[in-house]
């Protein structure tokens, strides 16, 4: 079954949204939501676990961006890139994100590092858009992840931004 854990919303004046107190009682997590930036141009969105700023995040991404096929990756970065977010130049456009997070409990409890796979989407027009599949992982301290923070490369999270976090219970 799925259980709603909590949500965060953009205020228009902060570049960081943070979910805290994530319980260690779920098998996997599901993050769903929409987002936009107060920056004029579209921006990159990142996430960080347990406020860990070490260079222990990796990701792979692919799909389409700005009207053409696109692939990319990030290795040994200080937070994980997970979406492209529209800005005010992309009038009235929201990005959509759906992310599955696995192995978020300590290694002693769930083997392996924490990883995710996700989809992200924003569409302004046929030459200004981003639709991608992502996967990534976190090589940091293998303890329970209780804090997930969301960051952007420029601007602040717009007031229609909202992420909901759900947990999947086991049998």
């Amino acid at each position: 079954m799925m259980e709603h854990i909590g949500s965060v919303s953009g205020t228009g004046s902060s570049a960081v949204m943070t979910l805290t107190g994530v319980p260690d009682t779920y098998e996997t997590l599901l993050l769903k939501g929409v987002a936009h930036s107060t920056n004029a141009a579209s921006v990159e969105a990142y996430m960080r676990f347990n406020s860990d700023t070490d260079y222990v995040y990796d990701n792979l991404r692919g799909g389409r961006k700005d009207g053409a096929t696109f692939t990319g990756n990030g290795a040994n970065t200080s937070m994980n890139h997970f979406a492209y977010i529209p800005g005010t130049n992309q009038t009235s456009v929201l990005a959509q994100i759906e992310m599955n997070i696995a192995g978020y409990r300590a290694a002693a409890d769930q083997p392996g590092v924490c990883g995710f796979f996700s989809q992200s989407n924003f569409m302004y027009d046929s030459s200004d858009d981003a639709q991608m599949i992502w996967t990534g992982w976190y090589d940091g301290s293998n303890v329970d992840i209780t804090i997930i923070s969301f960051h952007m490369s420029s601007g602040n999270w717009g007031t229609s931004s909202k992420f909901d976090l759900y947990g999947r219970t086991g049998p």
């Binding site: 769903k32 456009v93 929201l94 959509q96 994100i97 759906e98 989809q119 639709q131 219970t169």
Partner: protein
């Protein structure tokens, strides 16, 4: 912001909260073979996100599924389409009069389709969507994914119509269901 710790404290370990699901069925239908369309109307505005799940078996010749929002027939459905038909991959941008979903290319075969709306209650921005479908038959294996948004004003989504453009009906036993993700 405090999250589910209080809930966990109240309800205990994961096994004991399994019945308190926050992902729930809203409405659905089972096709009888005589209709080509179904509309979810008066969709409650109390969920965080919506999911449509469509299991469709084609009769003759095949079923192509499309989705229309709030009865809007204008050319306002912007999307990127990615598909693979019999091993050939395609991707590209489309502007259509509805969102293209999946198809069952051969009579008697089926496809499974999922459609996700997040931010569907927002009234100041366009509503984005994801969809993914897969079909399988002996000659035309196909998957279909598209992502985009509905750019006809910023009204909340209150109705979703699933329909066919090929003159076919979903075979009897095909099912279409609308689910919602909600707060606790």
């Amino acid at each position: 912001m405090p999250l589910g710790a209080a809930k966990a404290a109240l309800l205990g370990a994961a096994g004991t909260v399994a019945e308190a699901g926050d992902f729930e069925w809203i409405a659905g239908t089972t096709f009888d073979g005589s209709t080509a369309t179904h509309t979810f109307s008066a969709i409650p505005q109390t969920y965080n996100s919506l999911k449509i799940v469509f299991y469709c078996k084609a009769s003759t010749p095949a079923f192509w599924a499309w989705t229309r929002i709030n009865g809007e027939t204008g050319n306002n459905y912007e999307m990127v389409q990615m598909n693979s038909v019999s091993g050939t991959f395609y991707s590209g941008e489309l502007s259509e009069t509805s969102f293209v979903l999946g198809n069952a290319p051969t009579a008697g075969y089926a496809f499974i389709h999922e459609f996700e709306f997040d931010g569907y209650t927002n009234t100041s921005m366009f509503s984005p969507m994801f969809q993914m479908a897969g079909s399988l038959d002996g000659s035309s294996r196909q998957f279909e994914a598209s992502e985009g948004n509905y750019q006809s004003g910023t009204a909340a989504i209150t109705s979703v119509e699933v329909f066919d453009t090929s003159g076919d009906n979903p075979a009897a036993g095909s099912t279409l269901a609308l689910f919602g993700y909600k707060d606790a």
